[in-house]
Amino acid sequence: MKKTYKIEVDCANCANKMEEAARKTSGVKDATVNFMTLKMNVEFEEGQDPKTVMETVRKNCKKVEDDCEIYF
């Protein structure tokens, strides 16, 4: 399952870091962050609940870049 989320982040490098953090989160098959459109596309693994996975994704992103937000 694929979903798109709106994000808030200030610098391009931070967006790259968020992407990496999101990819490494368990339950996430693949993720891309688009700094220019401020969107995060997340592909979830089978049978994962997007909401709970996204909580972890947000936590992991906050770890690498404190000043970011994901809306879901």
Partner: protein, 628 residues
């Protein structure tokens, strides 16, 4: 400017004013230090907090950390040397923040610019209820509802016009400025602007499936597919920052130790630490990390404004390396509609012959018959035609106004025992016999698009090495089109599978770096579009299959757009390479100068912020594609 940017601007101005004011205050010692601490904290408190958080989360090599270390280090040095020169540290922080501010402003601005270019998202749909128009969310309109579009409004959903006629401005979709006429019965696609009359439209799709939603989706997701250059930059940034940090530590420690132990000189710690701090300031990879995706984003935005949708940065990159362009014939280089091209050896007036042909063929729905009826141009009175006999694979014999008319190919004439004159023109030949006598023939062919020849020439000038045409048509027709247009190679009489094979052959025989683009109208060449390095679908408005299969979608069927798309991609990639070389080059030079002690922090700040500003401005150039 948003709230964050405004707040930052106030901080920048406040710190700058304080810094200048302090310059005239002759305080010394700890008082001086505390005074200077005020502007430093005003401008840099968030960086310091972020750096601390970074350390806590084990993300030490980020730019906040670098700036914090560099400026705190510089202040510590000034304290240690008792020089009282805190200006440098504050200035570094100040300029860093100015750079960040500028970057966020520029990115926000181009984000808005590009979304304005793509301003086709309809906000509402009008529905008539009890004689009154009601505005509702387009998402809520069901298939088959009737919506009303008033002059000046955007068509929100694809559908068929049931009532009214008007001119449509399609420029936001196609880049084409000529308005298009629509009347009742015509299909209409969302995203056009209704200019003159009120239209009633019966929707045929949901909003989410409509052209406008598809296009917006495509453009918005385009820059998520990252190009090799972008991947290179993110990998580079990942290695580069830690590498420079390690180099900075080495620069701070090794030379002094070497001087003390080997050369027996004074260590000169302060000099080397200062150089190491300069290193840290230069090391930030922001200029690269921001300008490369920004260039692609701007390039894709500029292209969509010209009616060229590129599905991803990676495709823009491949497109710029295109050396071979393979065309499908019908619908791409030719109009794909059959037209009467000539009437030869007619024994009567051409118009009369055409009238006979159109009437005789009036019962058939074959494209050839349709084109005859179109060329005739008048209403067909079926009552004039009787005794219609269709002879499959040969033609038609019918009585028109009581006269026997035979219209068909060579075989029909042979069957009827009528002597006919063979035609040397390429195309489909309809021989006519009226009352048992040969009456000439009509040539029907698929007409080459008016600017197809120019388009091929433009491709050649743009540096395309080989142009190839593939078609299922007869060799004679194909070769004629090929030579009129000046194509390098023509392969005819191919079945759809044969086209895939041909493209595979071409892919094998070409050098690795020269990319092959296939241009088709997307109707039955989806497999070829996928197989080519880059698939370009043209005239694809409303054709879902083509939008799916292609990497680049031309919104109208103008072949000139192919060369334009390639030029846009080249310009964008040129900017990308300029920025890579420029940013890395300047940084390396400044690093070298810093290590030798020739660069101070002011130069370091230029290497960081100045380069970033220039690279961002350069990246925005990719947006301007009108003159290409």
């Amino acid at each position: 400017m948003n709230k964050k940017q405004k707040k930052m601007l106030v901080r920048i101005l406040l710190a700058a004013v304080l810094l200048i004011a302090l310059h005239f205050i002759p305080a010394t010692g700890w008082l001086r230090f505390s005074l200077y601490l005020i502007p430093y904290l005003i401008i840099g408190y968030d960086i310091l907090i972020k750096a601390l958080k970074g350390i806590k989360n084990r993300q030490i090599f980020d730019e906040n950390f670098l700036m914090a270390i560099a400026t705190v280090g510089a202040i510590a040095l000034a304290l240690y040397e008792q020089s009282g020169d805190y200006t440098e540290a504050i200035a570094v922080m100040l300029f860093y923040q100015i750079g960040e501010w500028f970057q966020s402003y520029a990115v926000g601005k181009s984000r808005r610019n590009i979304s304005e270019l793509m301003d086709i998202r309809p906000d509402y749909a009008n529905i008539e209820r009890d004689g009154k128009l009601e505005r509702i969310d387009p998402d809520e309109v069901e298939i088959g509802s009737v919506i009303v579009v008033q002059p000046g409004e955007k068509v929100p959903i694809d559908g068929v016009v049931t009532d009214g006629s008007s001119n449509l401005n399609t420029s936001a979709l196609t880049g084409e400025s000529l308005p298009r006429d629509v009347k009742a019965g015509d299909e209409i696609i969302s995203g056009c602007i209704n200019m003159t009359g009120v239209l009633k439209i019966r929707t045929t799709k949901e909003f989410g499936e409509s052209t406008v939603s598809k296009i917006l989706d495509l453009v918005e997701n385009a820059s998520s597919r990252k190009s090799k250059s972008e991947d290179f930059i993110s990998k580079f940034a990942r290695v580069y920052t830690p590498a420079v940090c390690i180099a900075a530590v080495a620069l701070a420690v090794l030379p002094p130790v070497f001087r003390m132990l080997v050369m027996g000189l004074a260590a000169g710690w302060d000099v080397w630490i200062y150089r190491a701090l300069t290193f840290l300031v230069i090391s930030c990879p922001c200029a690269l990390v921001i300008s490369i995706p920004l260039s692609f984003f701007a390039g894709i935005g500029g292209a969509s404004n010209a009616g060229i949708l590129v599905k991803g940065s990676n495709y823009l990159e491949t497109l710029s390396q295109t050396k071979i362009v393979v065309f499908d014939k019908t619908g791409t280089l030719t109009k794909g509609v059959f037209e009467v091209d000539g009437i030869h050896h007619s024994e009567m007036e051409n118009a009369k012959l055409l009238e006979y042909a159109a009437l005789a063929e009036s019962a058939s729905s074959h494209p050839i018959s349709k084109s005859l009826q179109r060329a005739y141009g008048k209403e067909i009175d079926r009552s004039r035609v009787s005794d219609i006999q269709e002879i499959s694979g040969n033609g038609v014999i019918a009585k028109v106004d009581g006269v026997t008319v035979a219209a068909g190919n060579d075989k029909l004439m042979e069957r009827l025992g009528i002597r006919y004159i063979s035609c040397h023109s390429a195309g489909t030949i309809i021989h006519m016999a009226v009352d048992g006598q040969y009456a000439g023939h009509i040539v029907i062919s698929d007409v080459v698009k008016p600017d197809a020849e120019q388009a091929i020439a433009a491709l050649k000038t743009a540096g395309i090495q080989k142009t190839v045409m593939l078609t299922g048509d007869a060799k004679k027709v194909a070769d004629q089109v090929g030579s009129t247009l000046g194509l390098d190679e023509v392969y005819s009489e191919l079945l759809p599978a044969g086209k895939v094979e041909k493209v595979e052959e071409l892919l094998k025989s070409k050098p690795e770096k020269a990319k092959l683009a296939f241009v088709g109208d997307g109707i039955n060449d989806a497999p070829v579009l996928r197989r080519a390095d880059i698939g370009i679908a043209m005239g694809a408005m409303g054709s879902d299959a083509a939008i799916e299969a292609a990497d680049v979608v031309l919104m109208d069927d103008d072949p000139m757009k192919i060369a334009k798309a390639i030029k846009i991609s080249r310009k964008c990639l040129r900017i990308v390479y300029q920025n890579i070389v420029f940013a890395i080059g300047i940084k390396l030079i400044c690093l070298a100068l810093g290590a030798l002690g020739l660069a101070n922090m002011w130069l370091a700040i230029f290497a960081d912020v100045g380069v970033m500003v220039i690279a961002v401005l350069n990246a925005i150039r990719a947006l301007f594609v009108k003159k290409l």
